[in-house]
Symmetry: C2
Subunit: 295 residues, 2 copies
């Protein structure tokens, strides 16, 4: 452990949990779970990313990405020592970051974090917050009920062909994981239709929908699976594969049979809504055992 920038705070289980919120509905689902378990939360929604309306229902302070000084001061004032990062964080352009004095001191670390893949960036972010004296915890540690369990969440179940597509998707993601790329792929009748890299899952699914509309897939609707799995070496505190109701809608628009996500490491935001949306669209959502990475 290296010496921190501003001294280390003393974590206690019942200190309020600082939740840094980026896009999507998962930060709020986690906040609700934590509060339900009796622990107070303080949200730090990121300007431009977090949902303004949803944020109002929680104690919160808006922050700009990279305003480390502002975050650090407010989180201390609130008595927070644990911090959790949740929600889709799209890599902001370095030149657009609004720097404050503490960020300037951390800049060499940030620049180092930027060189390389997403996983590298995200573990760099975690190290920077540890250097500030906070304990970085994973959403799955503070709200384990958020993790996907094995088996179908839906009335529909994967067929044998779907299971074969799922197995191929897991093998593919295990093979690409060491290159620190996306956590998702689309496989249909044993053919890889798309692999996610910097564009994110939603955009990848949109591409599949477009290829289908253009007649370039050559398979009927209801064939193909979105497979999501964590990268093998990923810092699980920061960036676990995540699905929510919007993922289900995108899978349906892409004409796939369903989606598979690794049990124990995948996150499902609003599982009831996910199940309802999937049942209405007649697609399956299934938690599957994760593969070990190929060496």
């Amino acid at each position: 452990m290296t010496e921190g920038a501003t001294g280390r705070t003393h974590p206690t289980e019942q200190s309020p949990l600082a939740i840094v919120c980026c896009g999507g509905s998962i930060p709020f689902a986690v906040a609700d779970m934590v509060q339900r378990n009796g622990r107070p939360v303080v949200l730090f929604p990121c300007r431009g990313w977090a949902d303004r309306d949803a944020v109002r229902h929680y104690r919160h302070h808006w922050v700009a990405i990279a305003q480390l000084g502002r975050f650090s001061r407010l989180a201390r004032q609130e008595g927070c020592s644990d911090v959790v990062f949740i929600g889709s964080l799209v890599r902001p352009p370095l030149m657009q970051l609004r720097l404050d004095w503490l960020t300037l001191r951390a800049l060499p670390r940030i620049v180092r974090a930027y060189r390389g893949g997403d996983d590298h960036l995200l573990s760099g972010v975690a190290r920077i917050f540890e250097w500030l004296g906070f304990r970085v915890v994973g959403a799955h540690e503070i709200a384990p009920e958020i993790l996907v369990r094995e088996g179908p969440l839906t009335a529909m179940k994967p067929s044998e062909r779907d299971q074969s597509d799922i197995a191929q998707g897991l093998a593919l993601l295990a093979a690409t994981g060491r290159f620190d790329i996306g956590q998702a792929a689309v496989i249909a009748a044993n053919r890889v239709l798309a692999i996610e890299a910097a564009e994110g899952t939603d955009r990848m699914l949109k591409r599949v929908a477009e290829l289908r509309a253009e007649g370039r897939i050559g398979l009927p609707r209801g064939v193909g699976v979105l497979v999501k799995a964590p990268k093998p070496q990923q810092d699980r505190r920061i960036d676990l594969p995540t699905i929510g109701p919007s993922t289900v809608e995108a899978v349906a628009r892409a004409g796939l049979a369903g989606l598979a996500i690794t049990a124990g490491s995948g996150i499902v935001a609003e599982p009831d809504k996910v199940a309802r949306a999937a049942d209405a669209a007649r697609i399956f959502v299934v938690g599957v055992p994760s593969l070990r990475a190929t060496p």
Copy 2:
């Protein structure tokens, strides 16, 4: 060798070469090279794919994809026994194929060929033409001058950072090759920005250009490389990685430093035009040794 459908013709070196042309300018570049070497050619441009204006300069018969009977009859009348497939072939939807009687007989083979990845499809196509009694030859066998040679084609050369991106791209494509997916990826400052699957190289590059325009790449222009390499188990007679002037333009629009393609297995259409376009855009084009596939 299984018994053919209509008896095997007797290949002779100087029989006219049947060139089945799909999209792009490469079929014509190959036709010119073959004619320059003294062998006559007959083009079989695919309706909807081949360039109508360019086709006019050659002896030709239009065919619809999957009109095996028409192709087989005309190619025999022309005295062709060797056939080469060139140009981008986008998987046509099975239901849109215009079937003729011979295609109907071949249908079980075609359906088998369709189940699985592109490589599987393409080697299935080759087997069907062999079953018809033709010899399927690779463009690189009849016009070896079309293959990329090692080293830069351009005034610009890859920097050390570009070389590191190229090495990572080759390693990634070697790891994904056994999944029978695309032949291209974009790497920038050691980060994988995009991997090609069913969408094709042009669309992948367009995605990178869009991500850049949206500020989601976080790297200045002139960082990043398009890497193209054949799949390890690929049937090289049918589908080698290919670049042309339009690839260079798409690389420039994506704001990359250049493109690397494997020497001895990559094809460059119109190398002079490619070099001129790349020099004008100040990007490099380099032939690189291919990696062996990871087991």
